[in-house]
């Protein structure tokens, strides 16, 4: 097997203020697919081309933001190996029993140095992507909204930046793909556990544990434009885009869910291999690094989180 250890973002559990409005947003407008609900009122969603039962869990709450982001590891041995790595780094872990989230095996939960809660799991029920595994069609009929392919990554703002970077690259074995630096000081770190431009990214901040955005992959630039059409048609709060990022070169648009959690949909970003060089953007060019065309930083994009 070419890919081992931590495989991919498995799911993100987002807190929402109003479930009905949130389902209109995530299912009707964005086009995720509802796959389950539980007795805590949580609703489970997936993107069409994911095999696992869900990649987004919406949790009813009186506050916005993220409960946790979970990564899927390849084997049960990996789960216990990473649990040990986390403990050896000096971070407490907690085991969440199988079935606490529907269809998910035992989870290892911990708070990373930047203040965000993460989980690892090895098993999740697979429901398929709606396409036969024999002579498969290229895509299933009847998709809605922006037609996201997969939950791709999250970007976080957090403190204890150096410690957090060390934790992700050493204890969890992530690879640095791109960064923003101000002289010797790292301001942003884009990290992957696979061959993607990022599976997770962190921005240096004074405030701990903040969600900047949860991001979903689309198939094309035309898909990003269509997402912009849907955002205006449905009066969804648009932040910026469609445009291109310098970082990761993704084509992108940003908007907010009905609880103020930021979403991104994007297409056609870059990729890495273990021997790829780290790409560096300098702080004096941060405008172009973030929004390649306008080169203008957007105030809310730099400061609004949940």
């Amino acid at each position: 097997m070419a890919m081992t250890g931590i495989l991919r973002p498995g799911h993100v559990q987002l807190r929402v203020l109003d479930m009905e409005e949130s389902l209109k947003h995530y299912v009707e407008d964005m086009g995720l697919i509802e796959t389950d609900r539980d007795d805590q009122g949580r609703v489970y969603l997936k993107c069409w081309d994911e095999q696992d039962k869900y990649s987004v869990v919406l949790e009813p709450s009186d506050r916005s933001g993220m409960d946790h982001m979970a990564f899927k590891v390849a084997t049960e041995q990996d789960l216990w190996r990473y649990e040990s790595n986390v403990k050896n780094f000096g971070i407490e872990t907690k085991r969440i029993p199988a079935g606490e989230l529907n269809g998910c095996g035992e989870r290892v939960r911990f708070v990373a140095p930047a203040g965000h809660t993460f989980e690892l799991f090895a098993e999740k029920e697979q429901v398929g992507n709606g396409i036969s595994t024999t002579n498969p069609a290229p895509w299933p009929r009847g998709l809605k909204g922006m037609e996201p392919i997969r939950f791709d990554h999250c970007l976080f703002y957090g403190n204890n930046f150096e410690e957090n970077f060390k934790f992700f690259t050493e204890a969890l074995e992530f690879q640095l793909t791109e960064q923003i630096v101000d002289g010797e000081l790292q301001l942003a770190a884009f990290l992957t556990c696979s061959t993607k431009a990022h599976d997770i990214a962190f921005i240096r901040s004074e405030e701990a544990g903040q969600l900047h955005h949860a991001s979903f992959l689309l198939g094309s630039w035309e898909g990003v434009l269509k997402a912009g059409d849907i955002i205006s048609m449905e009066d969804i709060p648009l932040e910026t885009g469609p445009t291109r990022h310098g970082l990761t070169r993704g084509q992108t648009i940003y908007f907010f869910d009905p609880s103020g959690n930021r979403n991104e949909v994007f297409a056609e970003d870059s990729y890495v291999y273990p021997d790829s060089p780290v790409l560096t953007w300098t702080a004096d060019n941060v405008g172009q690094a973030i929004f390649y065309h306008s080169r203008q930083l957007v105030d809310s994009f730099m400061s609004v989180t949940t």
């Binding site: 009186d62 933001g65 405030e207 907010f256 609880s259 103020g260 105030d299 809310s300 730099m302």
Partner: protein, 100 residues
């Protein structure tokens, strides 16, 4: 029906219908004065204190507005729909999140 919204801090005034939240009313008329963020009750940057006037409101994140604050007219402008003329003062701000 449209009501007059007054931002006490800047003296800025704009009309806002009862079907639009106060922040949308401000933005639609190109007015400024209240910081604009998520426009969905989650980020807290448009926090204001209503000094006078009546309104209805939608749920806002308890990370930014406590139940006690809400009962004293401290709200997020993006969750407030006017039912009379309103005068408010701005509490929220865009914080500088990236630190060096």
């Amino acid at each position: 029906m449209a009501f007059q919204i007054t931002i006490e801090d800047t003296g800025e005034q704009f009309a806002c219908s009862e079907t639009k939240h106060v922040l949308a009313g401000m933005q639609k008329l190109g007015k400024k004065g209240i910081p604009v963020g998520c426009r969905s009750g989650g980020c807290g940057v448009c926090k204001v204190q209503v000094l006078s006037g009546e309104y209805t409101s939608k749920k806002m994140s308890r990370d930014h507005v406590s139940a006690e604050e809400e009962s004293e007219g401290v709200v997020l402008a993006c969750r407030v729909f006017p039912t009379s003329d309103i005068t408010l003062s701005v509490i929220g701000h865009l914080r500088k999140a990236v630190t060096r």
